[in-house]
Subunit: 239 residues, 2 copies
DNA sequence: CGTAGATTTGAATGTGGTCAATCCGAGTGG
DNA sequence: CCACTCGGATTGACCACATTCAAATCTACG
């Protein structure tokens, strides 16, 4: 019964009853039109922790949104270094960096049990021809993604470790709460390693900072569950 | 006579004879169709060092490409910190991060005497309605911009100072050479300050590194003119 | 219950930042 | 033509923050 609530046992492709629908980008992409939305959401796919959604170099077959769980996107540089580009939580879109070359430049992997919705690309293309509004929406999403990355660049370029982690925690908290969950507590599905890599920090630094934030009463951590106790103070850390 | 070559005295809006045309994104955007290209390139604007092309918050009126000179884009965070997002050299596109909200999130300033070509947005929108190919091209450009930023994030997140600067110099060299100039020498129009900020480094660090690269015979610097003497070794520094 | 993998914690090290003094070059005015 | 000025660039000394290496704990899961 609990399982039904999070949608894992149901394979129906309707967006009705989807736990992420409130925050889901599909709603926006379809211009609030449920008929169009149901045309682009074709399939649901269930992934185990560690499973790959796409790999670098693969042709673009579909865009995706996360329904439940969490997807990590990353790139591998020519010399084998990995950069974690981001974490995608319910409602968020995946794969748009492939629209340019029709081929994925990055990779996407589930970091916990995850369900994603597929939007087959050929169908999207067809829709774009019929309804220019869709193209407008896509442009908007890409542009927003650029703005998001610009923000992250500010984080990596200007901030110290403390400030980066605070920003990241607040950001995740906000994005989770958008999906309907209470904003003050969420599950940190990603490892310290991934989190550190994403923020340009060593795993140990992340761990130390989390401990310190906890000592100072700004958050409480139980395993991977995080509660932000003093969001204003975390905001202040970002300066 | 020299001035004619760099196009500063001529205000004609044709792309013929434009020194940047070979590398210009307008060619691509118009799908190689000169007629379409001439419809989107409407005006040329000449800017002094320090002059602003657009400011954060301004409504999106046009996209731009650089014809000659160099434009710096940057963002100011809520608390007043500046992040230099990039430098745009001849042929490169500006303003696409505004497509999402129809409003510029970043700012753009000339860092030397610069000429830009304007693509009025309402005209672009009209064209998108008529020729879906244009929309496709725009999507491609946005997507490529995302990939570009992802690379920069790798740089900021994974690399040390040495590696960042080497990568940046090689990158600039390549982009300048695409515009037709010889690849081994180019003018570093931006200040050490801007370069450092862009790479997440202190100005002093940039200066020290440039001196060291020079001592080690990898490049020669005369004021702001840079010659890459040993590109392979610079590549190796990136690891 | 036991192992492998994550996480935490500690201590030592080093890279890059900060602060400050100096240098250089372009532009200005005598 | 030379002194002066102002901003940018360079160089040096010192220090802090974050990394690295290592060991100890904790957690998940077979």
């Amino acid at each position: 019964m609990k399982a039904n609530v999070i949608g894992l046992t149901s394979s129906c492709v309707s967006c009705r009853n989807c736990p992420a629908s409130r925050a889901c980008i599909a709603t926006e992409l379809s211009g609030q039109d449920p008929a169009i939305r149901d045309r682009i959401v074709k399939r649901r796919r269930f992934m185990q922790k560690g499973e790959m959604l796409y790999r670098p170099g693969e042709p673009l077959r579909a865009l995706y949104t996360v329904q439940t769980g969490c997807i990590r996107t990353s790139m591998t540089t020519c010399d084998g270094e990995v950069q974690v580009l981001g974490f995608h939580v319910p409602g968020e879109l995946l794969g748009i960096d492939a629209l340019g070359e029709q081929r994925h430049p990055s990779e996407a992997a589930a970091i916990e049990t995850t369900a994603v919705c597929e939007y087959p690309y050929h169908e999207l293309e067809r829709l774009m021809g019929e309804a220019p509004a869709i193209q407008r929406q896509l442009l908007r999403l890409l542009s927003r993604e650029i703005a998001r990355e610009e923000e992250l660049m500010c984080l990596l370029g200007q901030r110290n470790a403390e400030s980066r982690l605070a920003a990241c925690l607040l950001n995740l908290s906000e994005r989770y709460s958008r999906g309907g969950k209470r904003g003050d507590g969420f599950t940190l599905a990603m490892s310290r390693q991934d989190l550190g890599n994403h923020l340009g920090l060593a795993m140990e630094t992340v761990s130390r900072l989390i401990s310190r934030f906890q000592d100072e009463g700004m958050l409480s951590v139980a395993g991977r569950h995080v509660q932000l106790l003093d969001a204003p103070r975390l905001h202040a850390l970002m300066e």
